[in-house]
């Protein structure tokens, strides 16, 4: 089985979907000849032609809006927004159109599109290249928000997102694009959407994370294990709709929960997870749910980004806090 990086998993899934379904088209800035600034679409234009792997004019709202039109007219567009900071321009289209086309036409027109964008900080990129907009997208009714955290999950979840009959915002942790490899068999097998993954079983505390923070949570669990504290680590994977059942089952076992978000704290997706756990598992909780998030500041430029993002050290501290709670 070949061992590949996360960005190679994205590339492999795109190639597989395009080979299997002639309706799949890729569009975005620099996705063609250049193969994408992160190389996620490398080789696709050579293989599938410029009509199916289209370099667009430089306009993010257009890219999302065109994808809506393409999807309604029977294609399966996979649009790339070059960096998450530029994805805010697509919210008008995702909210007013992609997420509501099915409802507002009572099922007559649908919007099976995927909007991919690299996400998150930690790669020393320029300003506006390191944002974490997942909560903004997760607030939009009628769409899915998917955020893989490993090469295999990137491959399987992207295949599922492309095949899904509804719009999917697919966030890719750029920090993990080349951080580690995983064995991935290119057999076109999707992973289930709307489902969280329990990556590590434990009995003492539940760590809930998504995207690049999953690696920090796994590292934290490793550190805690050295002290004889066993953390269960859940990769949420699909933020919307949220698989709260998997999280609740874990919290009912451990009684303690730490939710990690790379985005700033107020109205973060961690707040949503925390509220659900507090409402639905109050009597199982032995301590208040703890959120570990970025600060309520602007996403800083590269020199301060390591001080902005949560890391394993802060997750361990939060886990200790909930474990000490009497």
């Amino acid at each position: 089985m070949p061992s590949i990086t996360l960005v190679e998993g994205i590339n492999l899934a795109l190639a597989r979907a395009m080979a299997d379904d002639p309706r799949v088209v890729v569009l975005g800035e620099d996705v063609g000849v250049n193969g994408g600034v992160f190389r996620a679409t490398a080789g696709l234009q050579q293989r599938f032609g410029a009509a199916r792997v289209a370099d667009t004019p430089l306009a993010e709202g257009l890219i999302a809006g065109m994808a809506v039109g393409m999807a309604a007219e029977g294609l399966r567009p996979v649009a790339e927004i070059q960096f998450a900071g530029f994805a805010y321009a697509t919210i008008d289209q995702m909210l007013n159109h992609a997420g509501r086309l099915r409802h507002r036409t009572q099922g007559r027109l649908t919007c099976p599109m995927v909007l991919r964008t690299p996400c998150g900080a930690g790669i020393r990129a320029p300003e506006h290249h390191s944002e974490s907009p997942e909560a903004m997208f997760a607030h939009i009714p009628g769409i899915r928000v998917v955020y893989p955290s490993s090469p295999a999950r990137a491959y399987g979840l992207l295949l599922a997102a492309i095949a899904d009959p509804d719009p999917v915002v697919f966030l890719e942790p750029s920090r993990l694009y080349r951080r580690f490899k995983e064995e991935v068999e290119d057999e076109g097998v999707p992973l289930p959407l709307d489902q969280a993954f329990v990556l590590r079983e434990g009995t003492d505390v539940t760590l809930v994370a998504w995207g690049a923070m999953v690696q920090e949570a796994l590292e934290a669990a490793e550190e805690l294990a050295a002290e004889g504290l066993f953390a269960e680590v859940i990769d949420v994977a699909t933020l919307k709709p949220l698989d709260i059942d998997t999280i609740l089952a874990s919290v009912r076992k451990t009684g303690r929960c730490v939710v990690v978000s790379e985005a700033s704290r107020t109205c973060s997706f961690a707040s949503e997870v925390s509220a659900n756990v507090s409402e639905l598992a109050l009597l199982a909780l032995l301590a208040p749910v703890e959120r570990v998030t970025a600060w309520d500041t602007v996403t800083p430029m590269a020199r301060l980004e390591q001080k902005y993002m949560p890391d394993a050290r802060r997750i361990v501290a939060a886990a200790r806090k909930v474990l000490q709670y009497q």
């Binding site: 257009l62 809006g65 039109g69 309604a72 409802h103 036409t105 009572q106 027109l109 709307d194």
Partner: protein, 364 residues
């Protein structure tokens, strides 16, 4: 200094405001009888529009955007669209859908606050009414891209108002249409006002048509109150698009004879004199005068048409009023292809407010 580019914008008008021909007519108008269906459609549009305004005043529908004054644009566009072209409207294009075969009570349903007003069984690929300004323009580029990719002889017709030409969505879409030579036609319905803001305050450009110059696409201006000009220019633009000749921007000059919507009072921002002057240019009487002068329309025909239209309006209102109420559960039914499990309790909660329909939902 060297001039590297020049442009000119053609303006087309065949009938002046009194319905007299100005110059040679296009071949389809050589026989005036060919324009009778357009006239009949325009009269029906105006009657349905007047009824919708009256229904808003009596609380039978909600806020409504009148089509008064733009009947020639809707009738002309409807006449030259092919069955499998795709229309991407703004919210003021209900007349076109009448010609697409959509039952007109759907328009009342839409403005009556019911999503079933966007269900067009007779014209299933057309886009729904679009209230956010200009956001349908990128959709049209996507639709046209799909048509071109599949090598189809079809075109996307996107309509917007003069105000929408100030938006990025508009520029982005016409720019993309030009870059890819998409089978797309943009019809700017310049009715001179974006609610209260007059055309001259939207842009310093002499014409809105010339915005297409910067996008590298064909562009021209027409008298939008002259149905012959609409059919001629728009028909050729659509045919050019279908046959691989690329996109066109058509600016149709008209005037919003109504308030912006029933929630607006245009007398706050424009004079009675201005409105009276514009009534002299309106499209319905103009066409009728021309048809009559060319022996294609008579007083008895007019009387018969008025009776027919009154009956049609009555049937439309009945179809609207007879439409069964929406179930609350309908909010969830078309949210996703299959409702995610995590929302099941919300559906159950909203359905419980209507216990007798709850069972029906689970059965269906």
């Amino acid at each position: 200094m060297t001039v590297v580019a020049r442009f000119e914008i053609r303006y087309t008008q065949y009938l002046d405001h009194e319905g007299r021909g100005v110059g040679p007519l296009p071949s389809f108008a050589k026989d005036a009888g060919n324009l009778v269906p357009d006239y009949r459609a325009m009269v029906l549009m105006r009657a349905l529009d007047a009824k919708a305004v009256a229904m808003q005043r009596t609380g039978q529908i909600g806020t409504y955007a009148s089509t008064l004054g733009k009947e020639a644009i809707d009738a002309g566009a409807g006449a030259v669209l092919a069955r499998d072209d795709v229309v991407l409207p703004s919210y003021r294009e209900s007349g076109i859908f009448m010609l697409r075969g959509v039952a007109p009570h759907r328009v009342m349903l839409y403005w009556g606050g019911d999503e079933r007003g966007n269900v067009f069984p007779e014209s299933p690929r057309d886009f729904p009414f679009n209230v956010p300004i200009g956001t349908q323009m990128p959709h049209a580029a996507g639709v046209a891209y799909a048509m071109k990719l599949r090598g189809e002889r079809r075109a996307a017709l996107a309509l917007c108002g003069d105000g929408a030409t100030s938006k990025g969505d508009f520029y982005e879409a016409i720019n993309a249409a030009g870059a890819w030579r998409l089978p797309m036609v943009v019809l700017v319905v310049n009715n001179q006002y974006a609610i209260s803001v007059p055309r001259r305050m939207q842009s310093a450009a002499q014409t809105l048509a010339q915005k297409g110059v910067a996008a590298g696409i064909e562009c021209e201006q027409i008298d939008g109150n002259d149905v012959i000009a609409v059919r001629d220019v728009l028909g050729r633009a659509l045919e050019r698009a279908r046959s691989g000749g690329g996109p066109t921007l058509v600016e149709a000059l008209t005037y919003r004879l109504s308030d912006h919507t029933t929630a607006d009072d245009a007398s706050r921002y424009r004079s009675a004199e201005e409105l009276a002057a514009q009534w002299k240019l309106e499209p319905v009487l103009r066409l009728r005068s021309w048809l009559a002068a060319n022996g294609a329309w008579s007083q008895p025909q007019e009387q018969a048409l008025q009776r027919e239209v009154a009956a049609h309006v009555q049937q439309t209102v009945k179809a609207y009023l007879d439409t069964p109420a929406l179930e609350a559960a309908q909010m969830f039914r078309h949210l996703y292809a299959r409702l995610p499990r995590v929302y099941a309790w919300q559906l159950a909660a909203v359905a419980e407010q209507e216990p007798e329909r709850h069972a029906e939902h689970h059965a269906g």
